[in-house]
Symmetry: C2
Subunit: 333 residues, 2 copies
DNA sequence: TTGTAAGCGTTATCAC
DNA sequence: GTGATAACGCTTACAA
């Protein structure tokens, strides 16, 4: 049965006409609002069913001033960390009838403010993950985005809930782990130069015990970066390597394997993040775990408070937890 | 400068008032529509800027009958295949100003029709990935979801564009690969019993050459399933194992390593999908590659055609490509 | 309990 | 070139 109205899809008016009631009543029935005569309600439901009526979310959104959608802005959907955060956010929000709109900036930092603003317009709130955006750009942008929560980006003066991994602490734990194994000459495969999470790791690396010798090797955040870093690493004459993240560590492990370097016999390698795959490689990767999915969930909680006009919970810094696996071991004699 | 209207955010009316023009003119300026007097346009822009005006996407959506949003329904955001599809879709759609709304059914097949319907309402179109939904449910659901494109689900009688990986062909290539290495006794670690992609693989496995002996071992689609399958695999007395997917293969490899089983010396293991990590494990995983990101991109092209009232391009079946790596080798004597 | 009608913020069709 | 004004589809006082 085609809709009576001329428009492409059936509207509340079509249902009202068929059930011989006003649109207000249909609206009430569809939303289980107030008290509606059971007989009429049944008639409306029947009409809606036979017409295959589905309320327009857009019209509802306009009338209610609420879209039940939150946005997530990330620099790269291929990164397992952001995937985890997305999943946590999506599942938590879904419980409350909210959906997530994703915006992938494809690492284009310059476009991020526009992207975020545009994404924000379509949603009720935003989760912003922008590790590369300059602090002053964030300072300018974030207030316009409210309600918004930040992921892994601690900028003094920004008034938005923050959920973050304590990168500095994590990297220190990894250093400590290697030192306990007797390592003294270490290399750090640095992440993107302009990334805040790299800066945090570097901060954790500063002022180490005097007996640790650390060399920083420019690298990146991806498999291929780690893979290409093998020669510089070997040239550096170190016995332990801290990779920017697990991806980089995997890339390095692959290249070392090709060169017949024994891990951890000749060289210990540790990662960062504890992505799903870290425990299943050979050797399994020693790393620190960062609960990105939990960050996504907690981001939803903050968002929800903000949307409800409540005071959001405290900001949280997750202390990464050392996951001792097979890729690290005693310093070779 | 606070908005003059009583509402929480600044509207087109506020801008019009400030620039002393009608809302129609503001709208025209904001959309670069028709010809507007340069002087007036400048005034409007200035007012918009100083008021920090951002058009309401919801109101635009209602007026235009278009949200510039497409939905993606997947059973599990933790699965790398769906992540890739999401990324491909998101990036392709983003080029045209469309965003992606994700709906993760958390493997709850029963909820999928509701979820998909609800997601569809908020969008202009949908990409549906539902490997576990029964065919008749799909036949009933898909027509109500139009415009919609299906991923990896070939159901006779459904009139929607389809992009799919030819699982049957892929698994046969893997068998052939192992046979060439001299293997005759093989095991297949089956995926979820009710999944269409598992059924397709089984279809590819039927009617193999008579000299191949294949045993099917119930398993699953995740790491842990593969990990737990190690003992049944060893008990089966086979020399080659085809895992449902790469995740399962990794789980198995890990468990075999714990048991000191040499791969591929004692046992060859192959996966399916060629996820990002497959080449970086030790041993690197022999598998077949399925271009999930490409599926996402192509899904967008089909969606776009549908939205433009054009005839979408042909359905495509991607033939998986064998990726020979180190986890498979000659049959032990 | 039900209906009328006024928004919600934009766009688009007209006149001017 | 610009401005009223009627949609767009729904919700919600306010009346009845």
């Amino acid at each position: 049965m085609p809709p009576s109205s001329s428009s492409g899809s059936v509207t509340i008016g079509d249902v009202a006409a068929m059930a011989q009631v006003s649109t207000a009543t249909v609206s009430r029935v569809m939303n289980g609002r107030s008290t509606v005569d059971p007989g009429i309600a049944a008639r409306v439901l029947a009409a809606a069913e036979s017409l295959r009526y589905a309320p327009s979310a857009v019209a509802r959104g306009l009338a209610l001033g609420r879209t039940s959608t939150v946005g997530l802005v990330v620099p790269d959907l291929a990164n397992p960390s952001f995937q985890s955060a997305l999943r946590g956010l999506s599942r938590a929000a879904g419980v409350h009838g909210y959906r997530v709109l994703v915006a992938d900036s494809a690492e284009d930092v310059g476009e991020e403010p526009i992207l975020a603003t545009e994404a924000r317009r379509r949603c009720d709130a935003l989760v912003l993950c922008a590790p590369r955006m300059p602090s002053d750009a964030l300072l300018d942008l974030v207030p316009r985005l409210a309600p918004v929560v930040l992921l892994n980006r601690d900028v003094r003066g920004i008034d938005a809930p923050l959920l973050a991994v304590d990168y500095a602490s994590g990297i220190r734990d990894l250093v400590h782990h290697l030192v306990q194994f007797g390592h003294r000459r270490l290399a750090y495969l640095a992440g993107p130069k302009d990334s805040a999470s790299n800066a945090e790791r570097l901060r954790g690396l500063h002022g180490l015990d005097g007996d640790v010798d650390l060399v920083e090797i420019p690298c990146g955040a991806r498999f291929s970066d780690g893979h290409e870093a093998a020669d510089p690493v070997l040239a550096a004459g170190v016995t332990g390597v801290l990779a920017f993240n697990d991806l980089v560590a995997f890339g390095l492990l692959g290249a070392l394997h090709e060169r017949n370097v024994d891990v951890p016999g000749d060289l210990s390698v540790v990662g960062f993040d504890d992505i799903q795959f870290a425990r299943y490689t050979t050797p399994a990767l020693t790393t620190v775990s960062a609960p990105q999915e939990e960050l996504g969930e907690q981001a939803w909680r903050r968002l929800r408070s903000l949307l409800d006009g409540e005071r959001p919970e405290h900001n949280v810094f997750y202390r990464p937890r050392l996951e001792r696996r097979a890729s690290s071991g005693p310093c070779p004699a």
